[in-house]
């Protein structure tokens, strides 16, 4: 098995990830004004909100593709502050999270299988045989074993995204960050990709998902966060957000989305 299980020992019901008062700006544009969230092990947390509200930026701050200016991060027993972040903290965040991008971002000169193997070999220093075995297992899981030797250019968007998910899962990250994984896909491809995500949820994979697929969010999430204009406006169970929302901005957003 290559899923996070060694965690159990020291987590003991505590939060897996806790982020407090995170702030990030691009120049004078304060994109994240004050974000605090927490994620427990095995939880699926979804982030919804209008475009431009800072959802992608927030996910990218978690693995330091963007540098937050302020805030404290506590992740699986490691605590640090954004103000005094060290190189090793960034390395730790990246090695223990994985990301699935809207545009897939597969390595285009590597085959589907090589895309999955690269991190196993170069980051986790697994043997060729073990990397190959893990990659084959995952290709079967995402239904692409017959595409193992295909390059991204020869795969459909949906297939590419399934490979990207396999690449993320392969490293046994403690959390996977999904940034609108189906937004760039043709409608007929969306179902298969959601199916694959669902499969890994059932295996207990912890995730944070940014998505506009409201039905999927409702069904899959343990917790839903509504973000607007750099703030967390409201959070709760899917029911609390979708049926019993107390915030007007949430209700307006959901009404707009539903009218589509």
């Amino acid at each position: 098995m290559y899923y996070p299980c060694e965690l159990e020992a020291y987590l003991g019901g505590k939060k897996l990830l806790e982020i407090k008062n995170l702030k990030k700006s691009f120049g004078s544009n304060n994109v994240l004004k004050d974000i605090s969230i927490s994620v427990e092990k095995g939880e699926v947390v979804s982030i919804i909100g209008p475009s431009g509200s800072g959802k992608s930026t927030f996910l990218r701050c978690i693995n330091y593709l963007e540098r937050p200016e302020q805030g404290s991060i506590s992740f699986a027993g490691v605590n640090f502050k954004a103000e005094t972040v060290k190189k090793e903290n960034i390395k730790y965040m990246r090695e223990n999270t994985a990301m699935v991008f809207q545009q897939f971002n597969l390595f285009k000169e590597k085959t589907a299988k090589e895309n999955i193997e690269l991190g196993l070999k170069k980051v986790q220093k697994k043997s060729k045989e073990e990397a190959s075995r893990i990659a084959e297992d995952l290709l079967i899981k995402v239904g692409l074993e017959d595409k193992r030797n295909h390059y991204p250019a020869h795969l459909s968007g949906g297939q590419q995204q399934r490979v990207a998910i396999a690449r993320a899962v392969s490293l046994a990250p403690k959390i996977i960050l999904f940034d609108e994984p189906t937004s760039a896909l043709d409608p007929e491809m969306v179902g298969m990709v959601l199916e694959v995500i669902r499969k890994f949820v059932e295996e207990g994979q912890t995730m944070i998902i940014v998505s506009h697929e409201m039905n999927f969010v409702k069904e899959i999430s343990d917790k839903v966060i509504f973000m607007n204009d750099g703030y967390v406006v409201e959070q709760g169970t899917p029911e609390e957000i979708f049926e019993l929302s107390k915030e007007e901005r949430t209700q307006q957003f959901l009404k707009r989305v539903n009218n589509h």
Partner: protein, 241 residues
């Protein structure tokens, strides 16, 4: 019959001239190697926007591309001995100017000149690699240098090969200027042979045929290389095999 043009001397001349092919190739290959190293360094300076170095690199590239190679060769030919004298004087060393092989001057001049062109090619190729792939590599915990080696370099190389190939071929043709530094490569050899047999026209025809065949062969090699490296465009059967 008038004997103004003698085809057979062309064919006799070719093997004579080819004896100097190794010198020409030595100049091309060694200069190409050092120009790649230096060009890569210059490209990194530009890409990472290193304050003072960046401006120096820009001036250097602009100068090297904005002045004739022939003039640069003369500058090296007269400048390097002067430089050595200064070095000997200030550092109490004893580099001999008269015994230094002249080919070194040529190699330095060509490497410096080529590196300016190579740096632009390499910079553009590196920047052509889609940033999303680098982010994907970082997001799975790869360090930036590792991502650069495993993802950026292979893709940038594919983009750079046609242009580097062209530079290589210009360099090959440019070696014909090395005679101004008293290095006997193919062009200088042709001149010498012609001054003996007085068949100047035939010798230069022979020489031109050699250059032509060489550039043809090398352009094919670069096309082949590009195809080989571009794995993602090879047919599936070949990849699976």
């Amino acid at each position: 019959m008038l004997n103004l043009f003698d085809v057979s001397t062309i064919f006799e001349g070719i093997p004579e001239i080819l004896k100097y092919l190794p010198i020409s190739m030595e100049i091309v290959i060694i200069s190409a190697f050092f120009s790649l190293l230096l060009g890569f360094g210059l490209a990194l300076v530009k890409i990472h926007n290193i304050p003072v170095l960046r401006m120096m690199a820009s001036i250097y590239v602009s100068y090297m591309r904005g002045t004739p190679l022939l003039v640069q060769l003369y500058i090296s030919y007269y400048g390097i001995p002067i430089l050595l004298e200064y070095v000997n004087y200030h550092f109490d060393t004893d580099y001999s100017i008269s015994t230094m092989p002249k080919i070194i001057i040529v190699l330095i001049a060509f490497s410096l000149n080529e590196s300016a062109y190579a740096s632009e090619t390499i910079r553009a190729a590196i920047q052509s690699v889609d940033k999303g792939q680098i982010e994907a590599a970082l997001s799975i915990g790869m360090s930036y240098p590792k991502a650069f080696i495993h993802i950026v370099m292979p893709e940038a190389l594919i983009v750079a090969i046609p242009s580097l190939g062209n530079s290589f071929i210009s360099l090959l043709k440019g070696t014909s200027l090395a005679f101004v530094c008293a290095v006997v490569e193919m062009t200088a050899a042709s001149k010498l042979i012609a001054s003996r047999n007085l068949r100047h026209f035939e010798m230069y025809i022979a020489l031109s045929i050699i250059y032509w065949v060489l550039t043809f062969v090398f352009s094919k090699i670069f096309i082949y290389l590009e195809k080989r490296l571009k794995r993602s465009e090879r047919p599936l059967e070949e990849i699976a095999a």
